[in-house]
Symmetry: C2
Subunit: 208 residues, 2 copies
């Protein structure tokens, strides 16, 4: 089924646009279009307008590059946050993930990507220079590198470390190890090895 026979250009056009989205092929796009055709007109209008409005009005926080409705995001502008700690992450999904843990009360710095020569992304495509500026201007005691445990993540972390080690800040990285709930025998050997090297005093590791 090649789905090249549309009796409506309007539907064909909507399917074409929907199928440009990642992970959505033409069959799924058609299913979505037919769903919208069956639903109330207001549903399609709300969806279409939410997409257009989001793209045209959303801003990136001028301090940490997180998505924001204002010039400064609600994390950077929150007076209850600890402004002396900056957590460096790849993208805004990581900010959401860390916020959801409720274990962190500092600020963020969103790189907007990760160093990946394969994808043509170098250090200058990321907001590393802005991080250096923040360290020059703000009083920061610690920078936490919360990057993916991949070669790209490690490369990016090392690059950032070299750029910021001249500042009087502690540079730390999130713990790597066997995930909570994982059984030891199924952990890969590199992770398990790292978790042995980076072992903690028992009293420090157990949380009530």
């Amino acid at each position: 089924m090649t789905l090249n026979t549309y009796s409506s250009k309007l539907v064909e056009n909507a399917v074409g646009e929907l199928s440009k989205l990642p992970g959505i092929g033409r069959k799924t796009a058609l299913r979505l279009a037919l769903y919208l055709l069956k639903e109330d007109k207001i549903e399609s209008e709300m969806l279409g307008e939410a997409i257009i409005k989001m793209r045209s009005e959303v801003k990136f926080c001028k301090i940490c590059h997180n998505i924001s409705d204002d010039d400064v995001c609600n994390i950077c502008s929150n007076p209850k946050r600890d402004t002396t700690v900056i957590c460096v992450v790849e993208d805004i999904r990581d900010v959401m993930a860390i916020e959801n843990t409720s274990q962190y009360n500092g600020l963020y710095h969103v790189l907007g990507g990760i160093i990946s020569p394969m994808d043509g992304i170098g250090p200058n495509d990321l907001s590393i220079g802005k991080l250096v500026e923040r360290l020059e201007q703000e009083t920061v005691h610690e920078v936490i590198l919360a990057l993916s445990a991949t070669i790209e993540g490690d490369t990016t972390g090392f690059y950032i470390y070299k750029q910021i080690r001249k500042f009087p800040v502690v540079v730390s990285t999130i713990a790597r190890g066997v995930a909570i709930g994982d059984e030891l025998e199924y952990a890969d050997e590199i992770t398990l090895g790292r978790s042995i090297i980076n072992r903690l005093p028992y009293e420090n590791s157990v949380k009530p």
Copy 2:
């Protein structure tokens, strides 16, 4: 990860609307929203406008109920089609599927669903009355029931058959049997049994 921490209401709103689509949860919706934020603004505008325009401007053919940009769809208005044969299908996806086979040159009648008491869909929710009207007004020689090989499909087919058997038309149903390319040993017994009962003279079945 509950993803309830959005630093932008605009993004939260777009994710909420996207996640109403079938098969798209909040995680996928967020991925789509972040994709749109990375792409050019024009991409989001084209997507949003295509959805709104499709829903507000698309029509349903007043003859066969297929989707259409005009009052009569391009199949019903095509003078090369055989107007004496009507193929009854559940929805417009089936029209596309049959059109893609290039094996059919008649017209269609789109029911807009299938009789399914479990989902609260009865005969009066479908365009069966309109089909009867077409048989009263047009010269039709054959009605082909091309419905799903399910209990609902069979029920719907039987209901339609009872409504239209008073007309001088041949009522046929698409062939059920072992699919092309399927191995016999893996065919289910009901399908295989049906394909034995409905066997054809060898000369009729082999197509060059």
